[in-house]
């Protein structure tokens, strides 16, 4: 197989950066310039963020970071994308207190009064982004991947101190 045919057969299709950046700006207020050094590709339902404008001539299992998933007109940012860029959000972002953070990292749902629009939100604790949450009718549901969750027994020393 020649290298050019390898590239043509790549399952990762380039996306317009401005289009993806606009989605992050309208939902979270993240400045589009944030993504100037990033290229976006789509494979199936996933959008990937990658450092280079061209995919290398290699058969790639993954290209950079899973950035969001798209289902019809609904898109959902990944926890990993928000952990990397979510600190730049100026809206639809919330910083939790210790008890709330404990529930969130265990993967739970909780009622929460906050100035948030319904939909996906950036969830932080003491200024560090925990990941993606889904906010709807005064309730916050953790979207942390199962393998990243930490149950109550495990977090005794990790949430102590601070401003609690």
């Amino acid at each position: 197989m020649s290298q050019s045919s390898l590239k043509n057969r790549s399952p990762f299709q380039p996306l317009d950066r401005a289009e993806v950046a606009e989605m992050m700006q309208s939902r979270f207020g993240i400045p589009p310039a944030t993504f100037e050094g990033v290229s976006f590709y789509r494979k199936g339902r996933n959008v990937w963020a990658f450092s280079l404008p061209e995919i290398p001539d290699l058969w790639c299992e993954s290209v950079g970071l899973r950035f969001m998933s798209v289902r019809g007109r609904v898109w959902k940012p990944t926890t990993y994308a928000l952990q990397l860029f979510g600190h730049l959000a100026t809206k639809n972002a919330v910083d939790l207190g210790p008890d709330q953070a404990e529930k969130f990292i265990a993967g739970g749902r909780q009622s929460l009064e906050a100035e948030l629009e319904d939909g996906y939100v950036v969830v932080s604790y003491r200024g560090g982004v925990l990941g993606c949450g889904l906010y709807s009718r005064g309730e916050l549901v953790s979207q942390l991947p199962k393998e990243r969750r930490i149950m109550k027994d495990g977090i005794e020393n990790c949430l102590s101190g601070g401003d609690s």
Binding site: W59, L65, L84, R126, C158
Partner: protein, 298 residues
């Protein structure tokens, strides 16, 4: 333990090595500068009352006084990566720069990969290769948690990685893992000369391929976590004989105690050049055991 007896003549203060090998390793993490910086991370740890001790030789490495570092919220956030201290040496020796093309030929589970990605400041290209389907899952997961956007994961047999040119190549080779005994003592019982010699064929082929993939002036780093000279100096000296256009450069990290590579072993002469390699024994820095060589392509 018996399988360590063969190193009595080459390890300084051999009895201290034997004493250290039964002690568990300290809990150590690397600060992930793709998501935070050292000051902010140390501030968080102090606020959370997690005692820490910075490494003497690497300012992004910390020893933590916690039982389960995996349960730290900073680990969930990807602000730290749990990684054995001595394994942070290979990327430091490789010294990758932003915008370069770098290959990590035996990458899973990705501790060194993510360290390289942060040294490259998430720019350029880092190809992280591992042939094993099962290990690729952990590699991908670690890269995502680190927030690495400059990594592509590939699954080639490293001996036949496609012809492309890289500024730097890391070969952190599969090995008998004697240096990991403090994590799992049974590696010592599983060791045999036959296993070392079997791996040696693979290690030689991987390192040879790596030298072919490096650009002129490029850097190739070879590392293992075993003491066996059959998998270390015997691999490096074979490749420097086979491939004329490479030379060794001395490995030396300030504030990290090491021994030079071996000139000879068990009747085989490797030559004085091998003294440029570095051997790290567990009792020298209270770490695991490690071997590192740095080759420059002419």
């Amino acid at each position: 333990m018996d399988s360590l007896e063969r190193y009595r003549g080459i390890v300084p203060e051999f009895e201290r090595l034997i004493e250290s090998i039964v002690r568990p390793l300290p809990v150590t993490v690397r600060i992930n500068t793709l998501k935070t910086d050292r000051d902010r991370l140390l501030f968080r740890l102090r606020e959370a009352k997690v005692p820490y001790l910075p490494f003497s030789w690497y300012d992004l490495g910390l020893e933590l006084e916690v039982e389960k570092p995996g349960n730290l919220i900073e680990n969930l956030m990807g602000h730290v990566h749990v990684q054995e201290e001595i394994s942070m040496v290979s990327p430091v020796v490789l010294d990758p720069k932003p915008e370069e093309r770098v290959l990590d030929l035996c990458a899973a589970p990705g501790s060194k990969t993510t360290q390289i990605a942060q040294m490259m400041e998430n720019r350029g290209l880092l190809a992280a290769n591992d042939p094993a389907n099962t290990r690729v899952a952990s590699l991908r997961s670690n890269c995502e948690r680190a927030g690495a956007v400059n990594v592509v994961v590939t699954r080639y047999d490293g001996r036949r990685f496609p012809s492309q040119k890289f500024d730097r190549v890391l070969v952190d080779a599969p090995c008998t893992g004697q240096g990991m005994a403090r994590k799992d003592l049974s590696v010592l019982d599983r060791w045999s000369l036959k296993r070392s010699l079997g791996l040696q064929r693979l290690q030689r082929a991987l390192l040879k391929r790596a030298t072919e993939l490096a650009k002129p002036g490029g850097v190739v780093v070879y590392s293992t976590c075993t003491f066996a000279p059959e998998e270390n100096e015997a691999v490096v000296s074979w490749v420097t004989d086979q491939v004329r256009q490479v030379r060794l450069e001395k490995v030396s990290i300030p504030s990290l105690e090491s021994c030079p590579g071996l000139v000879e072993w068990d009747g085989s002469l490797f030559g004085h050049e091998m003294e440029k390699c570095a051997r790290y024994y567990p009792h020298q820095n209270d770490t695991g055991g490690f071997f590192v060589a740095k080759l420059i392509k002419e």
